[in-house]
Each structure stands twice: as structure tokens, then as C-alpha cells.
């Protein structure tokens, strides 16, 4: 079957008629424009900004002045607008449809938060402005800290980590500093096989060797294996809870007890905090450090891959080792401790140049205030309800990896139901695109064969969940009925057909070069 992507047909019979080899006269694809690279446009000398002319040349800089061409094309404002708007239309987004990426918490991003982050008092505030002129910012950081500490039941928080993995690094550095302060540097970190890749990567980054902990048949940490691997050289365990199979670690209090008994610390990966926010406090579970992805649980936008924000809450044992800076209440209002020159200071250092992702703090705080304690609790409940609903509706056709008992905020399926169909998890995911949905997380966690991890989040209506489930059930039926073509060639109705990732890696082309595509016109002098 060959299909032309000439727009989105609304009825199956139209699909048939449009499918008959239709091509436009100019190679166009309706209103979905092909868009050349900015480097392939002519007139590189253009500019889309009007700036005053400087009379005096920079003659004081002599040989330091850049004489050779830089190689940057310029666009007038209308050309720039059209370029980026056309490109935007090739993206899927939460604002278009359910975005069920497990472990990523793709929830609605309230626009109030965007508006608040753009207030001049926050956006146009320099990180090294005199602190007397930044009291509102420090107050916001202080209030955010209070909410994060209250929601997690932990006594301290380091706000500066810039993303989840950066938070993991912060937590492990605090743990390392705590062990070193006791004169007991340890060498190993235990990580379950189901962990996010950032966990072992971070442990290795900090110089620890990584030992994997086995998993039980019901998708939890194997307590016996954990107990056997804990020992005097273990610095920490890193456990995600709810875990990456979407399950709550039932024995978590025992895991923490065993860990502490061995003199190790309990690092919790808080990527899945959305499932329990407002209902369960990690501090009550024995956690020593946990990062909170503000871009997951607290709705700051993912922005096509960042920026994130990963504050780390710390137990009393680790709090003294938190990195600079932090906010303190002083005689003249709030102040920031930016340097730890005091010999008694135990802070392990600094995670980045300034104070963290302030723009994300504003958004997350606006989100927390909007929901309140009651709303956040409802967030967790609806997130878990939505995931269990999807699990229940799909379980007849697809095979849940852990059918017994409820899941938390995400539902995990394996690929055993696809056996013998010739369709893989990847094919199935790509076919979801043709039905108007972003694929779920695939092949993760690694402990489940052909894993499909679906996280709907609480911001989906029942109607959208039903639409999603019906699409997946229809696809499952097609796969089992032998309609393999529908899957192998998918997606047919996306801006691009399946992309050759092997070619990209074998012959990396990471920048545009003049010998590629259209040659640029020479630089025009204005």
C-alpha cells in the first residue's frame, strides 16, 4: 500500500480516494510546507533587526578583531516568522493531543505560569543584582522551598540543580561528602536493573562503581538480593519510587531500613513524584535525597527537550553538605549564601554559576499555588486513576507486564501479545502516529520485553482517554488480523516517513556545510 501524505483525511473512504497516487503539480504537500534550512536561502547579508550605526571602529582591539566571515545567514522579520512557524507545524505537542510518554509526565502547561515568569521583576532580574533589589525573588525561592519541603516531608532543599540528572549528581555529591566527612569513603552504588539510565551514569560520573539489584517477578526490588549486595563499601542505593514499571515499592520502608543499617544512604529518583504528590511524603519512607523534576510534576514546559529544573530535597543527615547558594533569613530581610569560606562549612561546592532555574521556580510555584494542598492531592489521584483506567481498558487486547494489583501513574505493557503477528513494539508505536497520538515510551524499562510504558497524566479528560484507548484497541485488532503493512511502513500520515537513524549515526552530518544542498549567495554588503 502506498499512501501520499496530502493532509489529514477525515473519513476512511476519503483515505481511499486520496490514496490513489495523488501528487500536487509542484511537489507541494498542501498547507504543510517543506522548509529549507536558513543556510539555503539567498541574501545572507540581510538582517531582521534595525540597529544604529557605530561611527568609531574598534581600533583599540587590533589583531583581536575577527576579520574572516562568520558564516551566519540573516532573515528579515517576516521571513523568520514564517520559517519558524512552518517548522513548528511539523511537531507534535501536548496542546494537540494526549502525549503518553511514560516516565516523562507530559501534562498540560498552564499559560498563567508563562505570564508570571515573564513579569519584568523576575525575567529582567540579574543574578548578581544587589540582594536588596531582589527580595521578591528570594522570597519566591523561600516559599518554593517551603512547599517542596512540606510536600516531601524533608528538612532541606537545594534549588540550584538544573535538571533531573543534575539533581542526581547533587544528591550523590552530598552523599559522597557525608561519607568522606565520616572518614569512610565508599566505592559502590546499587541501582535496580529497571532504573533510568541517568542513575548508573550519574553514579559512574561521581566515581562510584555500579552494581545492579535484581527485580522480583512482580516488578519490585528483590529484597534478598539487595540485602546480599549491601555491605561496608556501598555508599548509596538509587531507587525510583514509584518505580519505572509504574509500581509502588511496597517494601520501601524495609529497603530504607536495610540501607541505613549498612551505613549507606537512600537516593530516591523523584521522576515519578506525580503519582504520590500530596498523598505520600518521601521523608516518611526513609529517603535521604530525592530530586524533583519541576518540568514533570510541577508542569514547567518541556520545551522540546528542556530547560528542566531539578531541586533536591535532603534529609537532616545530608543537609549540611548542600551546595551553595541557599537563601537565609537575615536581619535586613532575605539573603543568599553564595560562598562557603567558613572553615566549618561542609557544603560540597557549587552545581552551576548562579542560583538555579529561577524561571522554572516561578512557573512551578504558580502551579503549586493554583492547585493548593487539595488540588495537588487530586493531581496524584487523577493521574493514578487515568493510568489504571487505560490499563483496564487495554488489558483485554494487550498484555500488561504486571497484571496483578493496581499500577500507579503509568501502565506498563510487554510485547507478548504481538507474538507471531510480525509487528514489533516500534512498529506499533509508529502506527499510533497515524491515529493522531504520540507513541508511548518504548523499550523502557529494560526489564520488560518490548516494553510499552503509557503515562496519560491527570490533565486528560475521560473522553480523550477513551479516544486514545479505542485507537490502540483498533490497532491491536489490526495487528492480530495480519494487517502488517499498516505497521511496517508507519507512519504514513506524519510530516516524515520513518527516518533512517542508522545512516545518521554511520555518516554523521551534524552541521550544514556549503557543499550540501543549495550553495549560498556571497555575503552582500549592506
Amino acid at each position: 500500500m502506498t499512501m501520499q501524505n496530502v493532509g489529514r483525511p477525515t473519513r476512511p473512504e476519503e483515505t481511499q480516494s486520496l490514496d490513489a497516487g495523488f501528487t500536487s503539480l509542484t511537489g507541494g504537500r498542501g498547507l504543510l510546507q517543506d522548509e529549507a534550512l536558513i543556510f539555503e536561502r539567498d541574501g545572507w547579508g540581510k538582517t531582521g533587526v534595525d540597529l544604529p550605526k557605530v561611527d568609531a571602529p574598534a581600533d583599540d582591539l587590533g589583531e583581536l578583531v575577527r576579520r574572516s566571515p562568520i558564516g551566519l545567514p540573516g532573515l528579515s522579520e517576516p521571513e523568520a516568522m514564517r520559517h519558524y512557524v512552518r517548522l513548528s507545524q511539523k511537531n507534535h505537542a501536548i496542546d494537540l493531543a494526549l502525549y503518553p510518554l511514560g516516565s516523562c509526565t507530559m501534562k498540560h502547561n498552564p499559560r498563567l505560569n508563562e505570564k508570571m515568569a515573564r513579569l519584568a521583576g523576575f525575567a529582567d532580574l540579574h543574578p548578581l543584582a544587589p540582594l536588596s533589589t531582589a527580595q521578591g525573588a528570594l522570597t519566591l525561592m523561600d516559599r518554593l522551598s517551603h512547599w517542596l519541603k512540606t510536600l516531601t516531608g524533608m528538612p532541606a532543599v537545594a534549588l540550584s540543580p538544573k535538571a533531573g540528572a543534575h539533581g542526581e549528581l547533587c544528591g550523590l555529591l552530598a552523599i559522597r561528602a557525608a561519607h568522606e566527612a565520616k572518614g569512610d569513603p565508599r566505592r559502590r552504588v546499587l541501582v535496580p536493573t529497571s532504573a533510568h539510565g541517568t542513575n548508573p551514569a550519574t553514579a559512574a560520573f561521581v566515581g562510584y562503581s555500579v552494581t545492579e539489584i535484581a527485580q522480583t517477578d512482580d516488578g519490585r526490588v528483590d529484597l534478598a538480593d539487595l540485602a546480599a549486595k549491601l555491605g561496608p563499601d556501598v555508599a548509596a542505593i538509587m531507587v525510583t519510587n514509584p518505580n519505572t514499571c509504574g509500581l509502588f515499592e511496597r517494601d520501601i520502608i524495609e529497603i530504607a531500613r536495610l540501607t541505613h543499617e549498612a551505613g549507606a544512604y537512600f537516593y530516591c529518583d523523584g521522576a515519578n513524584f506525580n503519582a504520590i504528590v500530596g498523598r505520600v511524603r518521601p521523608g516518611d519512607l526513609g529517603v535521604d535525597a530525592m530530586h524533583i523534576n519541576l518540568h514533570k510534576t510541577f508542569s514547567t514546559p518541556h520545551g522540546g527537550g528542556g530547560p528542566g529544573s531539578g531541586p533536591v530535597v535532603l534529609s537532616a543527615a545530608l543537609a549540611p553538605f548542600a551546595p551553595a547558594p541557599w537563601v537565609v533569613h537575615g536581619a535586613d530581610g532575605l539573603t543568599l549564601v553564595e560562598e562557603t569560606v567558613d572553615a566549618a562549612a561542609q557544603a560540597f561546592g557549587r552545581m552551576s554559576a548562579f542560583h538555579g532555574q529561577m524561571g522554572m521556580f516561578v512557573r512551578a510555584y504558580a502551579y503549586m499555588r493554583s492547585h493548593g494542598a487539595d488540588g495537588l492531592r487530586q493531581v496524584a489521584e487523577d493521574a493514578v486513576l487515568n493510568a489504571n483506567y487505560v490499563k483496564a481498558r487495554l488489558s483485554g487486547s494487550m498484555t500488561p507486564a504486571f497484571p496483578e494489583g493496581p499500577c500507579m501513574h503509568e501502565a506498563l505493557f510487554d510485547d507478548s501479545w504481538l507474538e507471531g503477528t510480525g509487528v514489533t513494539t516500534l512498529d506499533f508505536a509508529k502506527a499510533m502516529i497515524d491515529e493522531g497520538f504520540h507513541p508511548m515510551t518504548m523499550y523502557f524499562p529494560l526489564v520488560v520485553h518490548g516494553a510499552m510504558l503509557i503515562e496519560p497524566t491527570e490533565t486528560e479528560s475521560k473522553q480523550e482517554l477513551d479516544r486514545f484507548c479505542e485507537a490502540l484497541l483498533a490497532l491491536a485488532e489490526a495487528a492480530k488480523a495480519g494487517d502488517v503493512e499498516r505497521f511496517k511502513g508507519a507512519p504514513f500520515l506524519a510530516p516524515m516517513r520513518r527516518l533512517d537513524e542508522t545512516l545518521a549515526a554511520r555518516k554523521p552530518r551534524l552541521t550544514w556545510k556549503p557543499d550540501q544542498g543549495v550553495a549560498p549567495a556571497p555575503l552582500a554588503a549592506e
Partner: protein, 448 residues
């Protein structure tokens, strides 16, 4: 609650489908000891107006940089961002999309990243750039660790002109990985001093230009010395607009260049989110940290883009990855590339010249103030000045005159013994009248 679509009826129906009696059944795996039956001790939900009122109140307690004469720099710079930039980055398709792991429905983000990488490589004069890091300081730390992987040596020499917070970040992160970080004595024009510290164990030297005191340096001789010893030269830049006027790191022999890209397209945001630029020579690409976007074709032979060389990354390689980084600064990279596309080479060069010209006016005005000495011999848009007394106290005093005079060096490094040094930056947003007001107020305060 306005963000939650489920109605009580929906919830009841859904529980029925699931076969659960109540929502609590779904939390049955939570240990009894950790269950909270009541909402926490925090305020309840609030309407949009109420939230807006609280946050506007907090914002009003801050003095925005644009509120009057303002001269802070030291790694973050106030520039004008065209209105188009903010419109584009608020497009739903860019703002509310995830990392482009499904390239067929993420070509918008991917093509933007490919263009971004090409622009960043051109700016720095190097071959390849990644899809961005958290900020300049973490990019600096990552560059040092990359030098270790490339050279298999453990020693890194940081110039005394490196931003103290960059040095501290690098020390914290790279030291954790087992590197031996040698930080040279802080000094105004310290770059050449790194040459004497290079030995056969040195993985890299890290030099900033313009440095934290604003000094612009030709690092060619440092590159030659590093290469002769088998070490890499890492060049750090905290003011990306300077690439429009000053020789690029690549032209001067850098192997890796990292920069803070905030100046182009991004607001000050009290320190974040910012955007780390990371570029290197082509032969080093497989040791790079972070995401990379590359060109390929789809099943019909049409050009498209994907994230590539991901076998370097944590989600594939786990504890053998080149870095633990996952998130980049996607939306900040978009803002950067939109602004830079609007500027183009013509606009960037003009913008850089204006910045330099403003700094020249500032230097001239301040050097005419009795008792003030301009310390920076060659600068782009920032200078260090020596005052006749404590710089922090002078900044506080000038606040009473409505002027934010700059960053006292002691705020970045209280141990350097440079308490009388003030860092002052000027950009295209600085008015000549602001410079005059600053110089006059400073003269009055010193004369008192």
C-alpha cells in the same frame, strides 16, 4: 480545579471499569505508615487572579534591570530581545513538546537544533556543536571531563581569569570524577600565566576570553603550548555577543569552546534557565557530552533530522556514558537561534560593535573620575575598575542614587583580596545618559 478535566461522575465510572471500590484501593501498595489521609498543611487551591496577585507582588519587590542605569555583567548580560523571539518560543508546538525521540513528528524541533548547531559552530569557529547544555558553567565542567577522556590524563589547569563560579562548578563536578584541578591565582590579565603550568600530565588548560575582568586575549600562543604538550585548549566565553567582534576560539587554536549563550535571545531570569554552548573539533565528536542532531533521510528519501550518536548517552550506555546529562536547554536554544537568525552576520557584527562602543564610553567616563582606575586593557563590553574603597559599599551607596553600578568582584570571590574591584558592563541597552549619571554619582560619592 481548572486544570483537572475529570468530573466526579467520570471518576466513579472509571473506578467501575477498573473494578476498584475507591481511589484508596489504587494506593493499596503504599505502606500504611506513610499514608496521609488529609491534605498537607499548605494553602488550598487558588484562582488565576489570586495567584497573579501574589506573584505580581513578589515581582514588584524586585528592581528590574530596565528600571534605570544598570551595569551588572559578570556572566549574565542584559540585551534587547526582539518580540518575534518570545512569540516563537511560546508556540504550543515548540513549548509543549518533548525531546524529539520520535523524529517523524518532531522535525520542527530537530531542524531548529540542526540550524542551531551550525550557527554555534560558526560562531566559535569550530567544527561541531551539540544541541546545548544547561549553562556555560556546567558546559565548562563537562569540557574538562571530556578532555580527560580524550587525553587519558587527569590534570586540568584553570586560568586565574576564569569566572570564579565557573571554576567552582568545574572543581566540584570534575573533581568528583577524580580529576586534579589546578586553579591559578586570580589576576586581571592572567591568561599567559597558564603556559608555565602545562606539563606532560596536563589534560587541558581552561582560558576565558573575554575573561571575568573583561580582558580579551589572543590565546593562540596558549594553544600552541598546550598542543606541544599533548594537552587540549578549552576556551570559555560568557558573553556570546563578543563572537561578533572578537576572533573566534577556533581561529585561535581551541580544541573545545564552551560559552554561555544567554546573551542571545534569552532574558536574565535571575540566573536561569540559560543555555550552554558546546563545540569542538570534528575528531573529538564521539567524546562529546549531550544530545546531537544529525541529518538523514526518510523511507522516501526525503531529507530529515534525528538525534544521533546516542551510544555516547546515558539512556543507551548507562554507566559507560560520556556524561549523565539528559535534558538540554531546548527552548533556550530555540530563542538563541531565532534571535541569531534575525541578527544574521550583519546584525551580530553591528550589535557587537555597539556593545564595544558603549563599553568604551563607559571606560572613558569612569577613568575621568578622580580616584578610579580602569584595570582592563583590552575589553569587549565589560571592564574592571579599581575604586578608592570597598566596591560592595559603593554599590550600596549608588543604589540610593538609583544606579546599579555593577558586580563587586568580592561577591564572586571574597578571598581574592580584590574588594576594591568593581565589574561594570555596558550593552546596547545602556544609554549614554546612564553612563553620565553613573560617572557623576560615583565622582560625588568618592569626593564625600
Amino acid at each position: 480545579m481548572r486544570y483537572l478535566p475529570l468530573t466526579p461522575d467520570d471518576r466513579a465510572q472509571m473506578l467501575g471499569v477498573i473494578g476498584a471500590a475507591s481511589i484508596d484501593d489504587l494506593f493499596a501498595d503504599v505502606p500504611v505508615a506513610a499514608r496521609k489521609s488529609e491534605p498537607f498543611d499548605l494553602p488550598y487551591h487558588a484562582g488565576e487572579l489570586e495567584v497573579e496577585r501574589e506573584l505580581s507582588g513578589l515581582a514588584a519587590m524586585n528592581r528590574a534591570a530596565g528600571a534605570g542605569p544598570f551595569f551588572c555583567g559578570a556572566g549574565a548580560y542584559r540585551h534587547h530581545v526582539p518580540a518575534t523571539v518570545d512569540h516563537i518560543i511560546q508556540r504550543s508546538e515548540f513549548l509543549t513538546s518533548y525531546t524529539p525521540y520520535q523524529p517523524e513528528i518532531a522535525q520542527g524541533t530537530l531542524q531548529v537544533l540542526f540550524e542551531f548547531q551550525t550557527q554555534v559552530a560558526a560562531l566559535t569557529g569550530l567544527d561541531v556543536a551539540n544541541a546545548s547544555m544547561y549553562d556555560g558553567s556546567t558546559a565548562c565542567a563537562e569540557a574538562v571531563m571530556m578532555a580527560r577522556r580524550v587525553t587519558r590524563r587527569k590534570r586540568a589547569v584553570l586560568s586565574g581569569g576564569l569566572h570564579p563560579h565557573y571554576a567552582a562548578t568545574t572543581q566540584t563536578i570534575a573533581h568528583a570524577e577524580g580529576m586534579d584541578i589546578v586553579r591559578q591565582t586570580v589576576a586581571i590579565d592572567a591568561e599567559a600565566a597558564v603556559i608555565a603550568a602545562i606539563d606532560s600530565e596536563t589534560a587541558c588548560v581552561v582560558v576565558q576570553t573575554p575573561n571575568v575582568f573583561g580582558v580579551a586575549t589572543d590565546v593562540t600562543a596558549i594553544a600552541e603550548a598546550a598542543h606541544a604538550a599533548g594537552a587540549l585548549l578549552i576556551v570559555v566565553t560568557t558573553e556570546a555577543v563578543s563572537f561578533g567582534l572578537l576572533k573566534s576560539p577556533g581561529e585561535m587554536g581551541a580544541d573545545i569552546a564552551v560559552a554561555e549563550g544567554q546573551s542571545i535571545g534569552n532574558a536574565l531570569n535571575f540566573g536561569g534557565p540559560y543555555i550552554g554552548l558546546f563545540t569542538c573539533r570534528e575528531k573529538l565528536v564521539r567524546q562529546m557530552p549531550g544530545r546531537l542532531c544529525g541529518e538523514t533521510v526518510d523511507a522516501q528519501g526525503r531529507r530529515g533530522f534525528v538525534l544521533t550518536l546516542s551510544t555516547r548517552e546515558q539512556h543507551i550506555r548507562r554507566d559507560k556514558a560520556t556524561s549523565n546529562i539528559c535534558t538540554n536547554s531546548g527552548l533556550c536554544a530555540l530563542a538563541f537561534t531565532v534571535h541569531l537568525s534575525l541578527l544574521g552576520e550583519t546584525g551580530l557584527r553591528q550589535l557587537a560593535e555597539i556593545n564595544h562602543d558603549k563599553a568604551r564610553r563607559l571606560a572613558k567616563a569612569l577613568s575621568a573620575v578622580p580616584g578610579v582606575e580602569v584595570l582592563t586593557p583590552r575589553y569587549f563590553n565589560e571592564i574592571a575598575v579599581r575604586l578608592p574603597g570597598d566596591a560592595s559599599q559603593m554599590v550600596e551607596a549608588l543604589l540610593e542614587d538609583g544606579i546599579v553600578a555593577g558586580v563587586p568582584f568580592s561577591r564572586l570571590d571574597p578571598t581574592a583580596g580584590l574588594d576594591d574591584v568593581l565589574l561594570c558592563a555596558a550593552t546596547e541597552t545602556t544609554l549614554d545618559a546612564d553612563i553620565d549619571a553613573f560617572a557623576q554619582a560615583l565622582a560625588r560619592r568618592i569626593a564625600r
